[in-house]
Amino acid sequence: MQLEVAGRNVYAYTGSRAFTAGAPTVVFVHGAANDHGVFALQSRYFAWHGANAVAVDLPGHGRSAGDPLASVEALADWLREVVDALGVRDVSLVGHSLGALGALECAGRYPERVRRLALLGPSVPMPVSEDLLEAAGRNEHVAYELINGWSFAPGSQLGGNQVPGMWMLGNAMRLMERCHAGVLAIDLAACNRYANGLDAAARVQCPTLVVIGARDLMAPPRNAQALIAALRDVRTVMLPETGHSMMAERPDAVLDALRKFLQ
């Protein structure tokens, strides 16, 4: 579906279903240099099981117009505008990585608009290595290579995709390569600068799910501990032998965690 948010066209994948007024709405928010497709399986499930699934492309990503949002706080405000554009009182937010930070900040700022919050691969804070920031700033391909090297658990580096015939590392690489120059650098800088995560967590009023990849090098499990401690109604799912690209590495485990939490 197409939405208009802050005067810009925004694309959202809905699992080929029309938006149904009155049905619960789940908004999926992707991470840096990605698009809605990283949630294809999980969002499609909810779209066909009684919910409005809305997997957005962030501004400047995928099919959405505009420039990338320069801060997590801007992303949080933008998400609230998405909720307005959908014409609903509240939504459940599912965010991955940068999208998790945006969802967290949104739930902290606008608790009345977020019914449930699922944070996949969060890290608070989310420091980004200097090497990666510099490479992304220069639009060097090695930035994508570093991310791929850190985003998949050692076992996943060999493949074994649950989606038959798809090579996860190649697909992740190609998706990042499709981003316009500069997008990754802006996204990573937003992650790196975000300092408000624990304050936001303290203001969250809805139940929260935190899903952690036990082998995540981009958002190591220890970097979620303070966040988990700051959330008042939280449950945690730790996925063994899983890295940061958990929706690709363990699509069913991620879906099952979301189902149990959201349905």
């Binding site: 294809a40 570093l146 060999l158 493949g159 090579w167």
Partner: protein, 436 residues
């Protein structure tokens, strides 16, 4: 920069990509999942699998765990995003075409093609409303001039069959993209060890895995690989590819290019082409091809080394007129081959005998180590006379255009000791020269 990216190298991927020790048994080799279908844990799970809400295997026509390992492996080796294993190389070519084209569509193809591909394009597809214009692969203007509004695909072989024209993949790909069309490449003769066409701009690659990938002449199989690079949804492009960019009634109005920005082609190919045409690969076949790929780097190096020795021998032989091998100074594509094929130009080539058709027959029948049969890319050396076999349906004019004469002999050099192969060829050449 102090940190280096972590990624596995090509030779490691030939052994490991797509496979892990079997979680059920610990088996180190990839198990042959010899089953037609897979049990659903519950009804909700079953429905989710059918509706692409969950990933997994349903029925071995659509996907199979052994075939999936092979698909991931070739995708990793090519630098692509995924692949589909098919019943043969021809099935892979047909799947690519059937996924993108419909009646009224048009292909621009190199005229230097495997005879089977030529049959499909020139004789069979027109019956279904798909026309092909064949062009000299070296003539970029001919490629450009042949593109029509209804053109949907450009197609060539990395090394044209049988004259070994080297396809200028970077330039033909750039031309295709200038016009908003994808380039499909048959990479059978080169394998990803000699060339990775995606790095040069090709969008789709297919293989007859029957040849060097499996490497031992024991199976028939094909592989279709997607780079994930072509933007099917770009402005002025999306209208040409409604199979990927418009709702598909055959799958709940799914728009494949929305479902996956990168993987739309493979989604449609599996969800429609493999489902409906059914030219899937058997798991036993996938196992054999996986075994072959495990030794691809060492085999290809030896294939090329042996071929160079044979070419050097034939070049000095008085009964040999000309040799079509792009590493030779006189080959028109030598400079291009040096650029695109730095590791070598493969192990299949043709040469012309100075003699009559009868002398050609005597040559082939005198050979002992070379097997006279219709295949290439075996560990064992092979020989054939294209004009009377693989290309026999082509007119004399088309044969000449494809670089084939009555005296053309095609060799596929195997892994034997090269001195034995040279002895075999020398004896057969002598016998042929005396048969006049």
């Amino acid at each position: 920069m102090t940190i280096k990216p972590k990624s596995l190298q090509f030779d490691t991927l030939t052994l490991h990509a797509g496979s892990r020790p079997d979680p059920a048994t610990g088996a180190r080799a990839t198990p042959i999942y010899q089953t037609s279908s897979f049990v659903f844990p519950d009804t909700d799970h079953a429905a989710a699998l059918f509706n692409m809400e969950r990933a997994g295997h349903v029925y071995s026509r659509l996907s199979n765990p052994t075939c999936a390992v092979l698909e991931e492996r070739i995708a990793a080796l090519e630098g692509g995003i995924g692949a589909i294993a098919t019943a043969s190389g021809q099935a892979a070519l047909h799947l690519a075409i059937a996924t993108l084209l419909s009646a009224g569509s048009h292909i621009v193809a190199s005229r230097s093609l495997y005879g089977g591909s030529h049959n499909l394009l020139d004789y069979t597809l027109p019956r279904f409303g798909i026309e092909t214009t064949f062009v000299d692969p070296r003539d970029l203007d001919a490629w450009r001039d042949a593109i029509r509004p209804e053109t949907r695909l450009l197609f060539g072989e990395t090394l044209g069959n049988p004259g070994l024209d080297v396809l200028d993949v970077p330039r033909v790909a750039a031309l295709a993209h200038e016009y908003g069309r994808p380039l499909l490449v048959d990479s059978t003769f080169t394998t990803p060890w000699l060339m990775r066409p995606f790095e040069h701009g090709a969008d789709l690659v297919f293989h007859s895995a029957t040849k060097f990938l499996s490497g031992h002449g024991v199976v028939i199989g094909g592989l279709l690989v997607d780079s994930g690079q072509f933007d099917w949804n770009a402005a002025n492009v999306r209208e040409r590819f409604p199979t990927l960019t418009a709702p598909y009634a055959g799958f709940h109005d799914m728009v494949f290019a929305e479902e996956s920005t990168t993987g739309a082609f493979l989604l449609r190919a599996r969800r429609e082409g493999v489902r409906d045409f059914g030219a899937c690969m058997a798991p036993m076949t996938a196992f054999h091809i996986l075994q072959g790929i495990e030794t691809l780097p060492v085999r290809m190096a030896r294939h090329v080394e042996n071929t160079r020795a044979i070419v050097a021998f034939l070049r000095e032989h008085p009964f040999v007129a000309e040799i079509g091998y792009p590493e030779l100074a006189e080959h028109p594509d030598r400079a291009l081959a040096e650029r695109l094929l730095p590791r070598g130009c493969g192990a299949v080539f043709s040469f012309n005998l100075r003699g009559t058709r009868e002398q050609g027959r005597r040559f082939i029948e005198t050979l002992r180590l070379f097997s006279h049969l219709a295949n290439v890319g075996d560990a064992k050396s092979l020989v054939i006379h294209p004009a009377s076999t693989t290309h026999f349906r082509m007119s004399a004019e088309d044969l000449l255009r494809a670089g084939i004469t009555e005296g053309t002999i095609r060799l596929s050099i195997g892994l034997e000791d090269p001195s034995d192969l040279i002895e075999d060829l020398g004896r057969a050449l002598y016998a042929a020269s005396k048969a006049a």
